[in-house]
Amino acid sequence: MKRPEDTFDAQRETHLWLAQRLSAMVLALCIIVHLVTIVGAVQGGLSAAEIIDRVAGSGVWFAFYAVFVAAIVVHAPIGLRAILSEMTKLSRARVDLLCFIAAIFIAVLGFRVVWGFYTMGGAA
């Protein structure tokens, strides 16, 4: 017999799986753009001015990096969740909590940078 928590589990796990795969598809595109940008940027050496010149005040780059960070916030914690539940003895509730904290942590650090670069146009 199926217990109620099992059916809850089926819906939730499938949604998480799908969220990780969809965010992976977004990340694949973002990383390709990121790699091309990096290779372009490192030619002749990196500088703060060069980065700021490119992204500060740019709505397009802001949107790109916002989507990039959002996809990471979805993708990475779900991956860590699978690893922690398979390779540690932590309970499922504890793993979920840790991964939720990881998601918040990545989101705060990431969006702080994305927003900062976008808004610093005048200051630089």
Binding site: K2, D6, T7, F8, D9, A10, Q11, R12, E13, T14, H15, L16, W17, L18, A82, S85, E86, M87, R92
Partner: protein, 241 residues
């Protein structure tokens, strides 16, 4: 190793135990099951192992041979000896050892039932036979997976089974996928509910140990991918609640 005899290390005991070495006469076209049978008949009758058909039909003689799960009746000694001529035979991984080379297959088969591996039709014996076209795409997908002999080799080859005790495993999920493609079967959504979740198809990481080791050359990873897509569509429709 001399040409006339083979030294084989065989697991003796249960979960706790040790390898015991035996000298077995070497023969042409000798299978690993031949070696084990020789030991049991001529050296130590207390050796426990399981077999029935000896010709690759029944799926009962699977063991771990030199670290990999194999059907011992169809595994020639020549093919598995490494450069050092070593042969060691242990019970299947991921299942509880009863004694020596015999494992308890209960979990393995219970998970088939849990994955709703039974056929559920809507017709009775009073109805006429269902006509299923051999050319229909669904029938072809079902056919690709139905030759499973339930030997447990894939289950033993899979690290996700080792890491996640709820994981239903490649064989049970492969079975569920063949039934999802059986157009006579009516248990669709219930089966998708059964194969989704922490122990379900989403737990698979496509390591493909099952594909690598399946004695019947089936493709459980492909079947599980099919279940992942089917459960994702059902979840989006809210049908897995």
């Amino acid at each position: 190793m001399s040409r006339e005899t083979l030294t084989v290390a065989v697991w003796r005991g249960a979960e706790k135990g040790r390898y015991q070495k035996y000298e077995v006469p070497r023969q042409e076209s000798q299978t690993v099951l031949d070696v084990i049978t020789y030991i049991q008949r001529h050296i130590d009758p207390s050796l426990s192992y399981r077999f029935a058909c000896r010709v690759g039909v029944c799926g009962s003689c699977a063991m771990t041979v030199n670290g990999s799960p194999r059907w011992t009746c169809r595994t020639h000694v020549d093919k598995v000896l490494d450069d050092t001529g070593q042969l060691d035979v242990a019970p299947l991984r991921n299942l509880e050892v009863i004694k020596d080379l015999s494992v308890d297959m209960t979990d393995f088969f219970d998970k088939w039932a849990k994955a709703k591996g039974q056929f559920h039709g809507s017709e009775t014996r009073h109805d006429d036979f269902s006509a299923v076209s051999p050319d229909s795409p669904q029938r072809k997908v079902a056919s690709a997976g139905i030759e499973c002999i339930g030997c447990g080799v894939c289950y033993s080859a899979c690290d996700v089974v080792a890491w996640n005790k709820d994981y239903l495993g490649p064989a049970a999920l492969n079975r569920a996928w063949t039934l999802m493609n059986d157009e006579r079967d009516v248990a669709g959504i219930d089966r998708l509910k059964a194969v989704a979740g922490a122990g379900g198809c989403q737990a698979c990481h496509s390591q493909q140990g099952c594909v690598e080791r399946c004695v019947k050359h089936l493709n459980p990873t492909g079947a599980i991918a099919g279940l992942k897509r089917a459960t994702a569509i059902a979840a989006l429709k809210g049908q897995l609640k």
